[in-house]
Amino acid sequence: MYDTIIIGAGMSGLAAGIRLAHFDQRVCILERHYTIGGLNSFYRMNGRDYDVGLHAMTNFSRKGTKTGPLPKLLRQLRLRWDDFQLAEQLGSEIRFPGVSLQFGNDAELLRSEIAEHFPDQVDGYDRVVGRLLDYDDLDGDNPDFLRSSREVLAECISEPLLVEMLLCPLMWYGNARQNDMDFGQFCIMFRACYLEGFARPFKGVRLILKNLVRKFRGLGGELKLRSGVSRIHVEDGHATGVVLDDGTELEGRRILSSAGAIETLRLCDDITEAEVAKAGQLSFIESISILDKQPQQLGFDRTILFYNDSERFHWQRPETGLCDVRTGVVCSPNNYAYAPDEGSLPDGIIRITTLADHDRWCALSDKAYRAEKVVQQDAAIESAIRFMPDFRRHVIDADVFTPKTIRRFTWHDNGAVYGAPEKQLDGTTHVDNLYLCGTDQGFVGIVGAIVSGISMANRYCLRPME
């Protein structure tokens, strides 16, 4: 009998596991895939290391800072700042036709860029910053949490283009809702991206995952890979345990699931029909190009570039076609200020993220699917080079993954990267000892998912101490 069974060895599940194992619980993390990491895993191909997700860790704070999500999660996981070896971004940018705004880890940069390009909107921008909810107010109780961000922004900023430009990176990095964004989520992402900023470990997501899993195992936690949960046993509204894909049964006093809200409900054997209509719709393709040069040698020194090719930013599932390349994110992991003893990454890398439609990708035959990967990667690059130097002559290797890939390795409905638009902020379900953590509890991104795992573990699995 386990004290807690955790479904999923992504960021949130591993973080929750560390908390529980640290306080001597018997805890087991069950992961269906053959490796850890979930939406932010890693793989090896043609002799090269690839990250699935990591463009940037948001919420950067310098060593010695005591407040904010990063110091908080390090304390809770008993990790040192140096365990993540974070290198700061060189600088990021939002590019729309005719106007660009730079931002970095010093919040003043974005403000000065707005003062330069939108001089009569600086006061409005300051009003937005003044209205941001604090991290402490983000449990969803604040009535402003569910307001429309577009509405709140329009009350402060009279230039629609600036509103679109400010929303673009924040929606890209953490908005499950199409076209608009809950104001609470906007506040989380605004702090994470514009006020705190981006960083990355030289070794990428591997380093973070390795540290989390080492800590978990060191505390006596059990991790079972290739151990998908096919059913959660529920009796009279109470979960008694799980059944694995191979039929093995495990008992637990409580269950914490990072599989997603609908995905988790579907596992419960007292539910006949989960509300599939509520699943998230937004998924991506990620086109990764390996270059024979460092991007800076080609004149590209941006860490993350968010581009959009018209005055209006369209954040929705593609209406026609497999992908919508009007907007995208370009990331170069090379463009971080790595420590001198780390040097530079062995290859030049350009990653481009584009909105994609899960159902259309999944409807393709195998042959068409393979062909479309190439076609859509070319289209994504062609769109991106309107906003950056043309790097195509320097490509020596490439990989693409699609909503189908994301779905296949994380089992999230629709390959939805940020989960369902309606979040379950208190983490509860219809089953009294089954809780949600991660994406569908409400905190997304690497830091968000870790914070979610910690807070749900604290709130439901540690607190009522008999």
Binding site: F23, D24, K63, G64, K66, T67, P71, K72, L74, R75, Q76, R78, L79, R80, W81, I454, S455, N458, L462, R463, M465
Partner: protein, 86 residues
């Protein structure tokens, strides 16, 4: 445990919770919150570490007693006096 040993034990717990913190110049009379920016999650951790390490229970209504080092040691003295330091 003597009061000095209890203090040492609390320092040890704080080092565990905040490994990047320099606790050498901690002022025993000033609140942890102001000096170390500890929040409610961290206080809960101090309580849970005490339980984990010494089986000392601190009921929720007593949490305010753990505000500073001086008040924490005073509060724990009767609970920990009979524990043998190992």
């Amino acid at each position: 445990m003597t009061n000095d040993e209890i203090r040492e034990e609390i320092i040890d717990i704080l080092e565990d919770i905040a490994p990047d913190e320099d606790l050498g110049d901690l002022d025993d009379e000033k609140s942890f919150r102001d000096q170390l920016e500890l929040d409610s999650m961290d206080f809960l951790d101090i309580v849970m570490e005490l339980r984990k390490r010494h089986r000392v229970q601190v009921p929720e209504e007593d949490y305010p007693q753990l505000a500073s080092m001086a008040s924490t040691v005073a509060y724990l003295e009767p609970k920990m006096r009979d524990i043998v330091k190992n």
